[in-house]
Amino acid sequence: MGGSTSQKNIHGQKGFIAFILRHKVLFGVLALLIFEICIAFGVHPDMSKVAEEPEKLKHIFGFAIPLGGINTKTIIMSWIIMGILVVFSFFATRRMKKVPGKLQLIAELIVGGFDDLCNETLGDKARKFLPLVATIFLFVLLSNIIGIIPIPGIEEPTRDLNTTLGLGIMVFLVSHIAGIRYRGIKKYVAEYFEPMIEIKGVRIPNLFMFFLNFVGEIGKVVSHSFRLFGNIMGGAIIIVVVSNLVRYVLLPIGLNIFFGIFVGLVQAFVFAMLALTYISMMVTE
């Protein structure tokens, strides 16, 4: 008891206030919870927003946009993320020193980590693809994480299939064009007919295998982009449904941390690593 009385004397506070000050984190959470419950009484579950059709821009300067219009929210959020990345890289690399500052340290960690990864996988061609892979990672990571900011209108661009499919098709084109460039068109085409039929030492292209390999390549793009989309969209829908069921009390915070930060980070890394792997499978012999 001596300790507590001396503490009281030091702070010059008594009884209840001292008790609250000693457990300020606990009481802070409790106050937040009570506040949230008070707000929750005014909120009614509304499940109709689970999977709304997004607003689309259908006409621009009097011309109709083909393919059903443009999802403006996705475009705006993508540009915001690109802006954040540009500003970050500008300030991180503006005055570079030998002993790095905070921003430079973060940038060095990211670039250095991906440099090592690319060197392990691609060897001497690593520096050619490092900017692409690292940018994909940063863009997808920021896109996945930005959804935890609780402002209406801020949504993950990766929730839109168009974003992820665009990224997937970009990786597909880059890897195949790089494959043709570094190994030559002959080897590139021959790979589609593997495993070939061998009769007395003569290798005959296998047309059936061409069909399967072709579908497999398309399947790569589809699964690459749908994996990211499904995880982010699934997480977002679960957050909306659970938030409605518990009337926005406390639980959504934990869900946001799990789906926004943890799943977002893992999926961004998986997306970038698969892009790197697809490129390396095409480029190396």
Partner: protein, 241 residues
Amino acid sequence: MDMQDSLMVARVVGAAFAMGLGAIGPAIGIGLTGSRAVQATARQPASSGEIMKTALIGMAVAESNAIFSLFVAVVLIFVPVTNPSWLKIVALISAGLCMGLGSLGPGYGQGYSSARASEGIGACPGNIGETLKMMLIGQAVAGNPAIFALIVSMLLIFGSFPDGGGLLKGAALLGAGLSTGLGAIGPGYGQGFPAGEASWEVSRRPEQATLLTRTMLVGQAVASSTTVYALVISLLLIYFV
């Protein structure tokens, strides 16, 4: 019963199939990872932090199959049907079955690979970077069957199937869901083995990472070709019967 009531019946039954069946595989896989993590921690208590990290990341990836199932179930329950028809009843039940069956195999396979990775980290905690990388690539590829199942379910939920095909078209829609759903069990289960063994081996021989990645991916690609057949048959059944 009018059409909206019948559609509601189909939606709830489909949701039950999706989540009920979809909970089986990921749960077993996650449990397997947990059990191997316990073993590894008992042998190497000093590296319990690394083992825990690997196991948790692997579990989160294996869990994503259950999240796909939940996604389909929630969409089935809450999202109103945009283009109602009698055939849509079959399509909705088929969508639930497809996603539920489709997450069975991948959930187990991904759980197996993260289980082996946790064991490997327990044996050689120094090589956590290479092991995590290999585990994540292997798991991501092993999850492809579940993604195909998700695609087929979404085609069945949001597609429009005007009446007129009769019993044949209804059977084709049910077959489409069953084809990809059942066709995902084996490939998902099987692709977990190369991923698991590669994660285990790379934790002991990190210098062989590139070669191991390529061998693992070839093995998984051949194993996953069967799920591509199933997807092709499903698309044929949905659009060409």
